[in-house]
């Protein structure tokens, strides 16, 4: 028995649409221009989407994954399959193109959040187009990972767009950069993990607002790291920072860091494992206790030799666990 749904008042439509899954709302959007507008009442704007390239777009709703798979075979359109917590539906791929499919989905549902953006298996042109869409629509990108760019220059060309993106949680990049590469950050996400970070300067580190910083193949030296830690010791400095890891060939045993000549270790074999913001674990061994002017404690370990590395951890004592 049919019912005239669109005669429901808006608050009732909202209740019904909230109980529909993304596939039903998508199909509903195909019924008319009016239903296309109405489906956003189902809270679709708060859904999170993934972009990893290819014709498979995943939307996360309440811990369930909905995979919209673009296909040019009309016979497959709206076919659904279910695999555990993953649901899949084939839909028409606009212009047979992944970027257009992605834009079509974020426009259809009014999605504002990107859970994860990875340049995993996509052409540089597509990645740039998608990134520009994020910037133009001022979308929030929770995690962004650059990988598998074919050309070194592609990464350098991409970074100015990256700078404009609103990345909130994590930026990671394990690509090579051209030797003359420079970058200015507008805003830092909570975590950065850069595999080739020679271009990340001490000034950038001193202004960094991250919770977790990982810099590999860095150009920072003992003096830079000492300046950084001396600043950290002052009350109110780096209030967000919980973990810093710097790997640099310029870390050596020639000058002090916090009045200590590396290697800086505590031979009492102190172990510490800390849960940071209920999000990730950091583990350290043989670290030296250092203290901020306000009494906040930190753990520092600096190794030299074949793999020079500085590890610094600031954990809430309640989150520390020495029995791991």
């Amino acid at each position: 028995m049919p019912i005239s749904l669109l005669k429901f008042p808006t608050d009732l439509l909202r209740e019904v649409f909230k109980l529909c899954d993304p596939f039903e709302l998508y199909k509903l959007s195909k019924c008319s221009k009016r239903t296309q507008r109405f489906i956003m009442l189902g809270g679709t704007k708060n859904w999170k989407i993934y972009y990893t390239g290819g014709n498979s777009m995943i939307i996360l709703v309440d811990c369930w994954y909905y995979n919209f798979m673009g296909t040019n075979n009309p016979e497959e359109h709206f076919e659904t399959h279910h695999y555990g917590s993953i649901h899949l539906m084939h839909i028409e791929c606009p212009n047979g193109n992944a970027v257009d499919l992605f834009v079509h989905l974020i426009d259809t549902f009014g999605i504002r959040f990107v859970k994860s953006f990875e340049t995993m298996s996509d052409k540089f042109d597509n990645v740039s187009k998608v990134a520009q869409v994020f910037v133009d629509k001022n979308m929030e990108i929770v995690q962004f990972e650059i990988r598998n760019f074919d050309e070194v220059q592609d990464v350098a060309n991409f970074m100015p767009i990256m700078k404009q993106m609103n990345i909130t949680k994590r930026f990671s990049c394990h690509q090579k950069f051209p030797p003359n590469f420079q970058h200015q950050w507008i805003k830092y996400p909570k975590e950065i993990d850069i595999g080739e970070s020679f271009w990340f300067t001490i000034d950038q580190l001193l202004n960094c607002t991250c919770v977790e910083i990982k810099l590999d193949k860095s150009s920072l030296n003992n003096h830079d790291l000492n300046v950084f830690l001396q600043k950290w010791k002052k009350t109110g400095e780096f209030p967000n920072l919980r973990s810093l890891k710097v790997r640099s060939e310029n870390i050596d045993n020639q000058s002090p860091i916090l009045e200590m000549i590396p290697p800086i270790v505590d031979v009492k074999n102190q172990r510490v494992s800390a849960l940071i913001y209920n999000d990730f674990y950091i583990r350290m061994i043989d670290a030296v206790r250092v203290t901020k002017d306000d009494g906040t404690g930190g753990r520092l370990r600096v190794d030299v030799g074949d793999w020079p590395e500085l590890n610094f951890l600031i954990a809430n004592p309640a989150d520390e666990d020495d029995n791991w």
Partner: protein, 188 residues
């Protein structure tokens, strides 16, 4: 108002249901209220059952009616069909003082009444029943194609929407012209 007292409670007078209490606690007699829909058929419902409706609960909470006063002043819900109100009253009685289960097997099954039932339940602010009803509406299109959804939910096509919009504009224009003419006539 000529009222025929019927409905679940009046057809089978509900005995006041009391929660298990200690022997020392005095038994409080349950109070009853009366409601009627468009068909003026009056339903006697206990205050406990009516607690499901935030609207009615708000209306009765400070009334302090005696049984006679309540009987003489049934709450009129002229916008709700009698059979729909009967369904709602039945559901409230079945769920009186009980936590509502995640899947409600006592939900009225008549699909043809679902539209009116949802509107009534929304109006009476019966949150749990509304969620069940909306779930049933949502389930109607589970796994259906856009064409089937259009039929099940009676969704007009774009052309029909445009025609309806044109018609509405035309009507609004006529009404506005009529009002202007009437105002000019008044001014003369």
């Amino acid at each position: 108002m000529s009222s025929t007292e019927q409905g679940t409670s009046s057809a089978a007078p509900a005995e006041p249901t009391t929660a298990p209490e200690s022997a020392a606690a005095p038994e409080v007699p349950e109070s009853f209220y009366y409601v009627h829909g468009k068909d003026k058929v009056v339903h006697k419902v206990s205050a406990g059952a009516l607690q499901h409706s935030a609207l009615i609960h708000g209306m009765i909470s400070n009334l302090g009616y005696t049984e006679e006063q309540a009987k003489a002043n049934p709450f009129p819900f002229e916008n709700i069909d009698g059979d729909i109100l009967q369904m709602v009253v039945d559901w409230c009685n079945q769920h009186k003082g009980k936590p509502t289960p995640p899947e409600d097997t006592n939900l009225p099954k008549q699909k043809e009444k679902l539209f009116d039932l949802v509107l009534a339940v929304n109006y009476l602010e019966i949150k749990e029943l509304l969620t069940y009803c909306c779930k049933q509406v949502a389930m109607m299109v589970k796994g259906k194609s856009p064409e089937e959804i259009r039929e099940i939910w009676m969704i007009p096509t774009d052309a029909e929407d445009e025609a309806a919009e044109k018609e509405a504009k035309k009507r609004a224009g006529k009404e506005a012209a009529g009002e202007t003419a009437a105002a000019a006539g008044d001014a003369k």
